[in-house]
Symmetry: C2
Subunit: 190 residues, 2 copies
Amino acid sequence: MTDLAGRAGARRPVVSMTAMAQADADAVDLILEQWGRERPDLDCSPMGVIARVTQAQREVYLAQRETFARHGLDAAAFDVLAALRRAGRPYQLTPTALMRTALVTSGAITQRLDRLEEKGLISREPSEDDGRAVLVTLTELGGQALDAALPDHLETERRLLSGLSTDDQQLLAGLLRRLLITLGRTPAAP
Amino acid sequence: MTDLAGRAGARRPVVSMTAMAQADADAVDLILEQWGRERPDLDCSPMGVIARVTQAQREVYLAQRETFARHGLDAAAFDVLAALRRAGRPYQLTPTALMRTALVTSGAITQRLDRLEEKGLISREPSEDDGRAVLVTLTELGGQALDAALPDHLETERRLLSGLSTDDQQLLAGLLRRLLITLGRTPAAP
DNA sequence: GGCATTTACCTTAGCGGTGAGATACTTTGG
DNA sequence: CCAAAGTATCTCACCGCTAAGGTAAATGCC
């Protein structure tokens, strides 16, 4: 486990020259160039970040989908199974907890759980402490499915990031962390 | 903006966060910590970048949706109108060109154009050069809608990025550009 | 020139998510 | 102790996108 405590982005890091000054342009550069021509009165520089976040996420999404499909899963299923797995024994969470980590609505979680239950990857039982609540448990099969997919998933992520040095990856992670923190909704949203 | 101080969940159920000041943790740090406890054999550091890209994109998406809604638009509509606008006079593109910049399927573009045409924001006419092709043109109304939304849109993006200095924003943009470039699909995909 | 291939756009079934709201249980405050 | 407010989950109509496939026009190859 690399030292995640470093907070690379928090102090002002010396700019690694490779980060800028790469002669190559990406799709967003073209968009910015178009706006610069058509609306020179506007400062569109924020798009340079935001649009790239959007495009990067799209690539991530597509790559992950392929990976999950190899294991008979999709992103929604993996999301739930991984949340249960990393919660630790007894691999049990409520739909509400899953809703918060997955950042989807309660209706979406219900449907995800329906599908996962159908496939035998999770089970549902009423909570004994709270008559309203349900306890979702990772089944043996679900744990196996997750454990099979997880290394492949990580390998995909590593491949996606392979264009950046380890230092730059940490730098990027630090910047994004600061972005997320200022966007509110930090650990567990209301 | 940094409210959420008295959260119940973060205080107790955790081990000591390595050397990190607690105030600087985001949701992804918690996830990485969980994986570190449950699967110390795996190097999950790639998630520190990928998961944050995903979460950041989600925040962006939600903020943009609010902004667009104030102007009677949604992200899909804005995407198309903006592509036409920044293409310059005569504000005309084919569905295929729009498909490429929007990164959605042709079916999605058809539907988007149906909706926009219905609202009078674009018009469609058959191309004279190519009997298969269609020319999509931004109408007067469409141009007005876009021009009204664009400054607000940029203001939203600026607000989203307000936690980072201008230098850090550029640094972030540069890192993401390199990421996108190595992910292939750079300017116009085949 | 004629046939196969490619390209451009549209059509449609199906899917997963949202948003609104229903239901049942729990907590709170007089 | 009870009513009101809050919480947990599920239900369902609707929506936009994808994937697969259809039609028509352009292109290429001989």
